[in-house]
């Protein structure tokens, strides 16, 4: 039983990181119909940016904030202006293909232009063990989970409680009526891209200490985030959290109890079951098809 709980908690920590990436993913989808295949690389790049700032002498938190600024510019503004805006009118698939291209370019650009090595990343939390009711948990697991949870909830509170957040939701639901109501649609969409960038930097901050910073770290992270987003419900931000946790926990449990070599298939199996029986995801709403 204690084994089970231990696996469960560390799964929650990993899952909450998936949830961060998945949340940004669903936000982009809702606001602009963008499926970002480069989401994993959007986590990889900030990890290296933070390493650069830290080795330039900044403390980790300052490096994080600086990386957020850079990411909001590069992964928010430049990405929106350069890739999404010109393709928006063609529908979903050209953006998908373009972001696939972007992910290949980012991954290999990092490998060729910087390094193919894995880099250690400073941890936000000191190494410490807790014993809670016989279960040993690391401070970094608890901290990771807590920080991710706070970020997800804060994002949701921002969307639900503030005027800007509500305007963003209005744009996501119906951009035409939103613009009739006097909402600055392009700006709201940019805010979504900015939030996605910040979430990606946060995911990098939490994931890199355990999994190291490497040019191809985004590959599996991105896929897990997609699966998490779809499992939870693509058009629902709470779904991302639920999906992320489900994927993280079940992966950890399956690795221990079924087979570690098939760990990566777990997210896939859940995903398959979900899309076959409830394609809109566990918490999602159904979308109608148009002729």
């Amino acid at each position: 039983m204690t084994d089970f709980l231990q696996l469960f908690f560390s799964g929650m920590a990993t899952g909450s990181i998936y949830a961060l990436a998945a949340l940004g993913f669903t936000l982009l989808w809702q606001a602009s119909g963008t499926i970002n295949f480069a989401q994993g690389e959007f986590v990889m790049l900030p990890a290296f940016i933070m390493i650069a700032f830290v080795s330039a002498g900044l403390p980790l938190l300052a490096a994080f904030l600086a990386a957020c600024l850079v990411a909001v510019f590069l992964l928010g503004w430049v990405f929106k202006r350069g890739v999404v805006d010109p393709l928006f009118k063609y529908g979903m698939m050209p953006i998908v293909v373009a972001t696939i291209g972007l992910s290949i370019a980012m991954r290999n650009g990092m490998r060729a232009g910087y390094s193919a090595e894995a880099y250690p990343f400073p941890s936000l939390f000191p190494y410490e063990l807790f014993k809670v009711a016989g279960v040993t948990v690391t401070l970094s697991d608890v901290g990771t989970f807590a920080v991710a949870l706070v970020l997800v909830l804060a994002t949701q509170a921002f969307l639900a409680r503030t005027v800007t957040g509500r305007a963003m939701q209005a744009v996501a639901q119906n951009s035409e009526s939103a613009s009739v109501l006097g909402i600055n649609v392009p700006r709201m969409i940019f805010y979504t891209f900015a939030i996605n960038a910040v979430l990606a930097v946060s995911a990098a901050l939490l994931v890199a200490p355990t999994y190291l910073a490497k040019f191809d770290m985004g590959e599996s992270l991105g896929t897990k985030a997609f699966f998490a987003a779809i499992i939870g419900g693509f058009n629902n931000s709470r779904g991302a959290l639920l999906g992320g946790l489900i994927v993280g926990v079940s992966e950890n449990l399956a690795a221990a109890y079924i087979s570690p070599s098939y760990k990566d298939a777990v997210a896939l199996v859940i995903f398959m079951v979900v899309i076959l029986f409830k394609p809109q995801g566990l918490l999602g709403r159904k979308e109608e098809r148009k002729v």
Partner: protein, 328 residues
Amino acid sequence: MKKSALGLGLLALLVLLVAPQFLKNYGIYLLTYWLVFIIATMGLNLTVGYAGQKSLGHAAFFGIGAYTVAILLKAGVSFWLGLPAAALICFVVGIILGFPALRVQTIYLAFATLGFNTAVWLVMRNEEWLTGGTFGINNIARPSVFGASLDGNLAYYYFTLVMALLLAALLWGLLRGPWGKAFTALRDNPIRAESLGVDTRAYTLLSFAIGAAYAGVAGGLFASLVQYIEPGPFAVGSSIMMYLMVVVGGPGYFFGPVLGAAVGVLLPEWLRFAQAWYLFVFGVVVVLMMIWLPDGLLSIPDRIRARKQSRLASETRAKAAQAAGAKA
């Protein structure tokens, strides 16, 4: 226009027949490699380009084909039974993979197929008793035909060329017929196709199955070409690459895969010393192409023609307007 296209095709064929005579062993090997990927992406072009099913799991079929042939050869079964077996198994698995496509479309389908690819790759990597795991299978033999051995690179090249031409002719016939029309109807507007009496269910499954069978044959040829297979070339990344080859060449253009495979496998092999930079440039080019040339390289002639036509039309309009003005 038709005539010039035919001439171009014959010229290309001539080059394909003669060029290897002047190439060294590695060059011939590369050309064969390219042909194998043309066959595979031809199948994917049917699934993605003609039928509009977003499949990101094509490398899985490629791998299933390769492992089928390799395992059967190791078990002493002839290549000539192994290759049809590879096609058949892929056809059946393709039908099975088609079922999710009946429920979900576009991006969901892309992820379902991508997930399928991961699953197949995991089996290849983990089931050592069958696939040799990460060690793979080595010393895969090359077949012989009517007693003539295809061991040499040149002989195997011509064999692959013949296979590619046969499969291309088959696909051409298929696409010219009613099936081809049904596939494009399915792509352009599935609901309208259904209301016109196209059995969208059957054609969705078929587009997957036939595409998969092509990948299976390509995989079998690949196994005998490289003579050593391991799970690496059949991972999700390869599927994505194949998808991009189709997109770059021109989805729904018959000769798109020829160009796409050249950009996807021929050039990077040549530029091996700069592989990461090549992929970087390739990724950037894909982004730029989506913005400026979303229908692929082969849409360039169409575009030029369309531009010429619209210029002609506006000139005629201007003349007509002038004439009308002069009368008034």
